[in-house]
């Protein structure tokens, strides 16, 4: 009797896993929550996906020396990899005109986190712990005069940081098939 119950449970599980496949073609399967968590490294401007962890620029300076300085230079300006800082930024200069410096050009602090987390360090991408990413993000923001050296960046504070370029970028237009790229533009 017990084995019949087990069999029924197994049959039900089997049925539910069939339902989890794609409805029309019956292919694919439902990823586990853990599979989604591991793969989903997209961080939205709201910071909804930010993991637990925290860091300050002070801590970030130590991680930077170990992980980043070899390519980006001791102070973020003199390496062969892209420049990371515009020190003593002139407030009158539009941030857009300071070049593609991650901590300035990026419209959201969450995007700085995402960029470091997925793309750095070269050849060892994906090896930084969340705390280290928070620390390095804080360092980028501190170096570019956006936050204080001891300000703690975490899943709550990071999305609240106001970036110099937050309102200075052009959203993409609504897309509709077969329409001109720009209304009124004949080319």
């Amino acid at each position: 009797m017990g084995s019949l119950k087990t069999l029924l449970v197994l049959m039900l599980l089997g049925a539910s896993s069939v339902l989890a496949q794609s409805p029309t073609f019956g292919l694919g399967r439902t990823p586990t929550a853990e599979e989604v968590r591991v793969w989903d490294i997209s961080i939205s401007p709201t910071g909804a996906e930010l993991p637990e962890g925290q860091g300050t620029a002070e801590e970030g300076a130590l991680v930077y020396r170990r992980q980043c300085a070899r390519c980006h230079g001791r102070d973020g300006t003199e390496g062969r990899a892209p420049r990371l800082v515009k020190y003593d930024r002139d407030g009158d200069v539009h941030p857009w005109n300071l070049g593609r410096i991650l901590g300035i050009r990026s419209p959201y602090a969450t995007a700085v986190w995402d960029y470091i987390n997925r793309g750095m360090p070269l050849n060892r991408e994906g090896t930084l712990e969340p705390d280290e990413v928070y620390q390095l993000t804080a360092l980028m923001l501190y170096w570019n005069d956006i936050i204080e050296e001891d300000e703690v960046m975490d899943a709550q504070s990071l999305p609240m940081v106001e970036m110099p370029n937050e309102h200075a970028w052009a959203p993409l237009p609504d897309y509709a098939p077969g329409q001109p790229r720009l209304p009124g533009y004949p080319y």
Binding site: G28, P31, E35, S42, R118, G119, E125, Y175
Partner: protein, 426 residues
């Protein structure tokens, strides 16, 4: 002079029979083909004059082009590939040598998000996950994807770096970052319908599996319209440089959005400002609008920059035309710098968001002239000259400017009286 031309099939059969165990001593005299002048024509690599070498990949397994054909891709846009870190960045396709609309897979241009090592992906291990604002999150194996209903379509992919500019001497430098292939795969709409996109799902984030996990935000309208999750190009599996085993093809849009080595599609509620989004951010709305899709565009591939015409007389002027918003409807060619235009002949039925090859019969009388082509697409947009763009935006004459968004301006080629061809903008 009598020419002895034995039937090759007979020879191959005999060869096979011999290889099957007959005495080698019975081999016929060495087979030679001869031209009318009596010049001997040597056999190709991998072929034996006695018994064909069936172990040769060249002859049987995977053919190579003739050793006399030397057309190759080249790093473009001022950064070497591989660079000092070993990363591949921008490699242009030798369009000056291309015949017809389809770029051979081995010559398709390469562009990567920031420079990338080409990943070595075992398709048995590769997965595509669809998640986010969907009713049913799904994960597919390659085998499962290949069981789904598929489409096969011609589409060009073009990098934002392609532009007619006075600094670029050759076609590969100015236009080498566009290519066209026949792509086969599952429409993304098929997969999204299986997953069930929720009301709030307005964008997707598509992400690759390479070390940087390059990702882009794309509007759900485009995803449902014609994006292909492609596993094959030009009749075989996608090449590693093009995203093996799986890539997204986003017809007509800026090339970086056709995410290679695709492993994840997340349906989201807003523009996510992810890796590639940040890199291609624009400050002005007009610039952003015009940077999304490629406009109507064409270029003469022969004769083109740094080529040399051997003399006066007849030439078939050849080129490619395409548009990111539809099919090519007409191509015009001018030989007098744009004063008069003639219809070019289009090869085949132009496909939406695909290169269309064109040609124009031309007899060169030896005088200096300026060759130009322009594309008119299926929604009536016309490829402009740089001058027309300048006037449209009210930019003063002589002022330095860039064409806003994706530069689709006309590339003029100047033919000097000595037959040398140079960039007409220089």
């Amino acid at each position: 002079m009598a020419v002895d031309r034995p039937d090759r099939r007979v020879f191959l059969k005999r060869g096979a029979a011999l290889a099957g165990g007959l005495t080698l001593g019975a081999v016929e005299p060495v087979i030679r083909e001869a031209t009318a002048s009596g010049q001997e024509v040597p056999m190709a690599k991998g072929q034996s004059q006695e018994i064909p070498d069936y172990s040769s990949d060249e002859l049987i397994a995977y053919g190579e082009r003739a050793r006399f054909v030397t057309s190759v891709r080249e790093p473009v846009n001022g950064r070497p590939s591989p660079d000092e870190f070993g990363l591949v960045f921008h490699v242009g396709s030798p369009l000056q040598d291309q015949v017809g609309a389809i770029t051979p897979s081995a010559l398709h241009y390469i562009g990567t998000t920031r420079g990338s090592f080409v990943p070595d992906i075992d398709p048995a291990q590769h997965r595509l996950m669809i998640h986010g604002l969907v009713d049913r999150e799904l994960i597919f194996t390659m085998e499962e994807l290949k069981r789904m209903p598929s489409v096969t379509r011609l589409h060009f992919i073009e990098c934002a770096g392609n532009r007619a500019s006075p600094q670029r001497k050759t076609l590969i430098e100015s236009h080498g970052m566009t290519s066209c292939a026949e792509w086969t795969g599952v429409l993304l709409s098929t997969l999204l319908e299986e997953a069930g996109v929720q009301e709030a799902g307005k964008w997707i984030v598509a992400e690759g599996v390479e070390e940087v996990k390059g990702a882009s935000s794309l509007p759900i309208e485009k995803a449902m319209e014609d994006m292909i999750v492609a596993y094959a190009m030009n009749g075989e599996d996608i090449r590693p440089q093009q995203g093996y085993p799986l890539r997204l093809v986003v017809p007509g849009f800026e090339g970086i959005l056709s995410v290679k080595w695709l492993r994840r599609i997340k349906v989201v509620d807003e523009f996510y400002m992810t890796y590639n989004d940040y890199g291609h951010l624009r400050r002005e709305a007009d610039d952003a609008a015009l940077s999304y899709q490629i406009g109507p565009k064409s270029v003469i591939t022969f004769p083109s920059g740094e080529q040399q015409l051997p003399g006066t007389g007849f030439y078939e002027v050849r080129g490619l035309a395409w548009s990111g918003t539809g099919a090519v409807s007409r191509v015009e060619v001018s030989t007098d710098g744009g004063d008069t235009w003639f219809d070019a002949d289009l090869r085949g039925e132009p496909q939406p968001m695909a290169h269309t090859a064109f040609s124009f019969n031309w007899t060169w009388d030896g005088s200096e002239c300026m060759l130009m082509s322009r594309c008119i697409d299926s929604i009536g947009s016309i490829q402009p000259t740089r001058e027309e763009v300048r006037e449209f935006w009210g930019i003063a004459e002589g002022e330095r400017f860039s064409v806003k968004g994706q530069d689709n301006s006309i590339q003029p080629w100047r033919v000097a009286s000595d037959g040398s061809v140079t960039n007409g903008l220089a």
